[in-house]
């Protein structure tokens, strides 16, 4: 512990401590920069000190799509009481037939799922989310599931073959 200078004001020690820290930081920065410059100089292809080309963005713009799992129409997860089942089809198709207990969140191919619908799904407290759609190519159920997953909903699945697969053989169902 260094003795305080005779007659120094009470803040002297604190000020000296701050000054020492700044000097030490400056020395570390200078040494690091020097080491980086030397490392760059011995590279086979040294990085330029000044950018010679205009910065350009070449990255693609992704859809908000996440990972989902395909399940079969007979999967027990669909009937599990802790699962939220979502019908991605339009109102007409939903009225004609839907899985008992299914909630309708119509999939829009070009506009995002409305925030309120997304909040409802998030607030459902379901352990898993299963989405089924029209079973087309591409399948609206799979696409909605991917969007829900991409926007933060966890444990999302889609029914392979969609509503026709769930209805089984017969009118409106799988062939």
């Amino acid at each position: 512990m260094r003795a305080r200078l005779a007659g120094a004001p009470p803040w002297y020690d604190a000020a000296m401590g701050v000054a020492r820290t700044i000097v030490e930081a400056a020395v570390v920065v200078a040494l690091s920069a020097g080491a980086a410059a030397i490392a760059n100089a011995v590279r086979e292809d040294p990085l330029p000190w000044v950018a010679t080309q205009e910065y350009a963005v070449h990255g693609p713009c992704p859809e908000p799509a996440g990972e989902v799992t395909a399940i079969r129409a007979g999967d027990p997860l669909i009937r599990d009481g802790r699962t939220l089942v979502i019908d991605a089809r339009d109102e007409t198709a939903f009225r004609e037939w839907h899985l008992p207990g299914a909630r309708r969140v119509e999939f829009d191919w070009v506009s995002p799922v409305p925030g309120a619908a997304l909040a409802d799904v998030a607030a459902s407290g379901a352990a898993a989310v299963v989405v089924y759609g029209d079973g087309g190519d591409p399948d609206s159920g799979r696409e909605l599931a991917r969007e829900l997953s991409g926007r933060g909903i966890r444990n999302v699945h889609h029914v392979d073959g969609g509503a026709p697969a769930l209805r089984g053989p017969g009118p409106g169902g799988a062939p």
């Binding site: 590279r43 086979e44 292809d45 040294p46 990085l47 330029p48 010679t52 080309q53 350009a56 963005v57 070449h58 990255g59 693609p60 713009c61 992704p62 859809e63 908000p64 799509a65 829009d108 191919w109 070009v110 506009s111 995002p112 190519d137 591409p138 696409e143 969007e147």
Partner: protein
Amino acid sequence: MKRASFLVVALLAAPAAAEVPECRALTGGAKSVADHLLTTEHPYDCCDGTIADCLKRSPACPLASRLAAFVCRRAASGQDRDTIHRAIERRAVSMMPGTKRHAFDLAAIPSAGSPAAKVKLVVFLCPRCPVCSKLGPDLYREVTTGRLAGKVTLHCRVFPVKSHPGSAEAGRAIAAAARIGKFWEFMLHAFREFDRYSPDALPGWAAAVGIERAAFDAAVADPATQAALVEAKKEGIRAGVEATPALFIDGRRWHGDMDVETLVDVLEEAGVAP
């Protein structure tokens, strides 16, 4: 030792690479990066040796010259070995004979450039994607008046990306303009005005390209316009598009860099392929 190995690499690569204008101008670190790659990387078609070996053969493998220019252009721009190596790999994955081809109904897609051109390029663009706003007009210029004129037909599909606010409205406006026969005029104008976008600006943009307000409003409101937009997006999803811009060269997905120099190069390559 390391210096000596560079010297050997340079001596092996230099004579052949000197025939390629992009390589002739290289010096220092960029030259050593290019020389190393030219003596270690192999063309994915037409010749079995390294790029440098293939350049020396007579007649020279045209792909070797293209790849040498590709490597040297990148080295000159400051890219390192690994970055260029990955770019070559992505190019190979996209261009190798036998890569899966997607079938598009080209007659249904708005096109630019000569309809008789050998190479068909299908692009999926989002009207609110910043990269698309640069690449779309660049490709249009190349196929209509630039280096790809007469060689490539550009087919453009609108693919509104949901993470871009306004993409659905702008996409519908472009689909409406397409139904009126003003697809490219409107699309290019929308990209020029990219930073001034608002839904309220769309009728003004239509007027700027010669579309009457009543006709534009009617086309936007027509359910068939929305159906056309949805069909374009579904077609992209079927082909595996998950981001824009997405390009298909003669039906093969392009996985490489999206800068116009690279694309002109690979499209010319596709044009001379047997």
